[in-house]
């Protein structure tokens, strides 16, 4: 009896001691975690600049930045600085390069379509900053890796979708004005993709009436598209090689009240395209898989953190998907 009581006393004491130890241990672990994080080994510092997603330019980089941020949140080997900057700064490659140098970054993630001055990229290389391109490649820029769409495959997907939805017809190819050589290249690849599919499909009922490069002014572009549709009323399909031409085409069709008659398919998914998809101005958009793009990019960065030469001249392509009105409204513009 006495021993039993003594044992109970010891057990109770032990439980109390454990409780106190758990409380103290819990608090200590939190402090220790902070200290450990601060004294961790030097991580790979990567920087990505993006603009607001609704300011008229392609939001691919923004989506990738968001996905990358999600992927690398709390990663102790890769520190990602995702900076949202004003449109002016976003379009200014020099600003991005200088800031990346001043930030003492290890890696800069850029949209290859925005590269106009290869000299700036050289400056980066001199500063020892490595490059990863997303949303448009520029192999001559001395990049380490490219993560993005196979634009030709995207063009083929657009042509196949139009063929399936309309069953064929007269088509016009529209593209926005040239801003950078890379953009021209990606549009050219998309066009090639469209043309190759039409050529491959024997007896294809899609016939390209004309190809038109629009004005940098959206109002002028709209007028041009209107005129084109009026002069070629048999046009049933509009292939817009970028979002800007798609938005202009949608506006023109609305004014002519021919949205039901003409099937419009464009590339990329900025806010305006989403709106046009919802209102019926655009029927479909060929969109990169941003999530996959961000995941691959994060994977590359982790590999670089382990071995700086690990991703040299790596090219990772991501499949595209078709977004229609029913997909818009879902999270992340799906």
């Amino acid at each position: 009896m006495y021993r039993k009581k003594k044992a109970r006393f010891i057990v109770t004491g032990f439980v109390f001691a454990m409780l106190v130890a758990a409380c103290v241990g819990g608090l200590c672990s939190r402090f220790r975690k902070n200290t450990e994080t601060q004294t961790a080994a030097e991580p790979l510092r990567a920087v990505i600049f993006s603009s607001e997603p609704n300011n008229g330019v392609s939001s691919t980089i923004s989506h990738v930045a968001v996905q990358l941020k999600k992927e690398l949140e709390g990663d102790e080997k890769v520190y990602l600085s995702s900076h949202v900057v004003e449109l002016g700064h976003y379009r200014d490659l020099e600003y991005k390069v200088n800031t990346a140098i001043d930030l003492d970054s290890d890696v800069l993630i850029l949209s290859g379509s925005s590269v106009r001055d290869l000299e700036m990229l050289k400056k980066l290389k001199d500063a020892g900053i490595r490059l990863i391109f997303v949303d448009g490649d520029c192999p001559e820029g001395g990049r380490d890796a490219y993560v993005g769409t196979d634009n030709q495959a995207a063009g083929r997907l657009a042509a196949r979708t139009a063929l399936e939805k309309t069953g064929g017809g007269k088509a016009v190819i529209l593209s926005a004005p040239q801003i950078a050589s890379n953009k021209t290249r990606s549009r050219e690849q998309r066009r090639e993709g469209i043309m190759s599919l039409i050529a491959e499909e024997e007896g294809s009922s899609i016939e390209i009436l004309t190809e038109k490069q629009c004005s940098p002014d959206s109002l002028v572009t709209k007028a041009e598209v209107k005129e084109l549709l009026l002069t070629s009323p048999e046009t049933g399909i509009l292939f817009c090689l970028d979002s800007a031409s798609g938005i202009a085409a949608a506006a023109a069709l609305k004014e002519l009240q021919k949205t039901e008659e003409v099937y419009v398919i464009c590339f990329d998914l900025p806010m305006q395209v989403e709106e046009e998809l919802t209102s019926g101005g655009i029927d479909a958009a060929v969109v990169q898989n941003f999530e996959e793009c961000g995941c691959i990019c994060a994977k590359l960065l982790r590999e670089m953190a382990e071995d700086s030469e690990a991703v040299k001249n790596r090219m990772e392509t991501v499949d595209c998907r078709i977004v229609t009105a029913k997909d818009v409204g879902e999270p992340d513009g799906k």
């Binding site: 109390f16 510092r45 520190y79 900076h83 200088n98 001043d102």
Partner: protein
């Protein structure tokens, strides 16, 4: 001794128990208070740190704005005041960035720190430039200004990082608070349950023995002495000792009472025995006196019958002589052996004499039959035990009718008893008479002064001789006769 030691080993006084209970309670409360205080301090400090960082962040941008003006002023008109201002701002910016870097774990804040470091480095270089070298100064100024502008251009990102930090911090604080509350609730619950159980236990431990003892006391007061002794093997505290002492007291009391009762019983029995002995002695004395008184008459009768026998011889009356001789024999036997024990065959012989005397009176009408088994002949019996029964049979059973009257006497051994039977085929007795006779046989009248050798007297002598083991059974049917059985023990 060993038992006592064992008992003492487990002994914990009630005071000590209460003391332990209070110590545990105080310790637990102290622990809960400590944890609560620690949690409050942690949350307060966290809040303070968040606010402090926010303040540092705001000051940083104010300083950066001031620095812009001061740098420009110093660029335009270098002076001590502007230089001092620039240095102060740079230093403040640097310490702020450093503080933020260590507080906010975000790559963008690290960027803030790097850009601030660049600004500080280039700003200091700018200040150290020779005022005469205008173009170099301008370049350095541009360089420092570029850092400042980059900081400005990324300001919203730094704000985002700060906001993100605040959100995280807040959620972490909530998480910690939740954890602490959960821990406190769980711990408090466990402690509460423990103390409820312990309080119940200690209350039961005190109340149950007290209640039990009270009930036992009430029983004793109400006169109930049948109390179940409920000793405790181990005396754990004062109440257990009290319990055992109480039962020990009750046990001692019961034992004393029992001894007193036994003593009183013994004394009562002794007194009763003494009284009985005195009565017996008195009765014996009276019986002897009666016997002595009765001897006077047989002596006279014996002598008379001897004289009568002599006269009969002288006159040649043979039958008279025989009658007188038999009668004289009978009287001599009754005179000599009345207060003695005799062999059964002597008693039977005496009865035969008595019956022959009676035959002289009743002639052939009286028929007798005496059958005694051989094993019974030598048993010792009080003298004159059969004659009274034969006399009663003749007096009450024979009547006035002229029909033959039969008396049969038998003696035989039946297992551990001898059976002596006197039966007749005379008038018999009705139920009331028979009951009256049986009742008179059972009554032990110590002062009975009736004639010495009657039926009742005979039976009482048998009882005295055989120490109460003799039995007398009487059966009678009116018109058919009476049967008396005497049962006496063998040996």
């Amino acid at each position: 001794m060993s038992q006592m030691e064992n008992s003492k080993k487990g002994f914990v006084s009630i005071r000590k128990k209460f003391f332990r209970y209070c110590v545990w309670l105080v310790l637990c409360l102290f622990l809960i208070i400590c944890i609560s205080l620690a949690a409050m301090i942690y949350c307060d400090r966290s809040s303070d740190r968040v606010l402090e960082n926010y303040e540092v962040f705001s000051l940083f941008w104010n300083d950066l704005e001031d620095l812009d003006n001061l740098l420009y002023s110093h660029m335009q008109t270098p002076g001590v005041q502007t230089e001092k201002g620039v240095r102060e701002r740079l230093s403040s910016l640097m310490s702020g960035a450093e503080k933020l870097k260590y507080e906010i774990l975000d790559p963008r804040i690290e960027d803030l720190f790097i850009l601030t470091s660049g600004l500080e480095e280039n700003g200091t270089l700018f200040l150290e430039m020779d005022a005469e070298k205008e173009s170099v100064r301008v370049d350095q100024y541009s360089c420092a200004n570029r850092y400042r502008m980059e900081l400005e251009s990324l300001k919203r990102n730094f704000y985002d990082a700060l906001e993100n930090y605040m959100i995280k911090r807040r959620s972490r604080m909530k998480e910690v608070q939740m954890m602490i509350w959960a821990g406190l609730l769980a711990g408090g619950g466990i402690i509460f349950a423990y103390f409820v159980r312990y309080t119940g236990k200690i209350t039961r431990h005190i109340l149950n023995p007290v209640s039990n003892l009270t009930q036992q006391f009430q029983k004793i007061i109400s006169g109930n002495t049948e109390i179940r002794l409920n000793y405790l093997e181990r005396e754990a505290d004062e109440l257990d000792i009290l319990n055992n002492v109480f039962y020990r007291m009750v046990e001692t009391n019961n034992r004393s009472m029992q001894e007193l009762q036994n003593k009183a019983e013994l004394e009562r029995n002794l007194a009763h025995t003494q009284v009985s002995n005195a009565n017996l002695r008195a009765r014996l004395d009276r019986t002897k006196l009666r016997l002595l008184q009765s001897r006077v008459s047989p002596h006279f009768m014996f002598n008379t019958f001897n004289i009568l026998a002599g006269l009969a011889i002288a006159e040649g009356a043979e039958r008279t002589r025989q009658f007188a001789v038999k009668t004289a024999k009978y009287f001599r036997y009754s005179l000599v052996s009345l207060d003695k024990t005799v062999r059964l065959r002597e008693e039977i012989e005496n009865v035969r004499l008595y019956l022959e005397i009676q035959k002289a009176r009743f002639g052939e009408r009286l028929l007798t039959e005496l059958t005694v088994s051989e094993e019974c002949e030598d048993i010792l019996v009080p003298a004159m035990i059969l004659q009274p029964f034969c006399e009663n049979a003749i007096i009450h059973g024979m009547g006035i009718e002229s029909r033959p009257f039969r008396i049969r006497i038998t003696a035989s051994k039946k297992e551990t008893m001898f059976q002596i039977t006197v039966e007749d085929d005379g008038a018999g007795m009705n139920t009331e008479r028979l009951a009256s006779v049986k009742e008179s046989l059972l009554e032990w009248d110590e002062y009975d002064d009736s004639d010495g050798i009657g039926v009742k007297n005979t039976f009482q002598r048998l009882q005295m001789y055989y120490e109460g083991q003799a039995r007398c059974l009487i059966e009678s049917t009116p018109g058919e006769g009476t049967r008396v059985e005497l049962w006496v023990p063998v040996g």
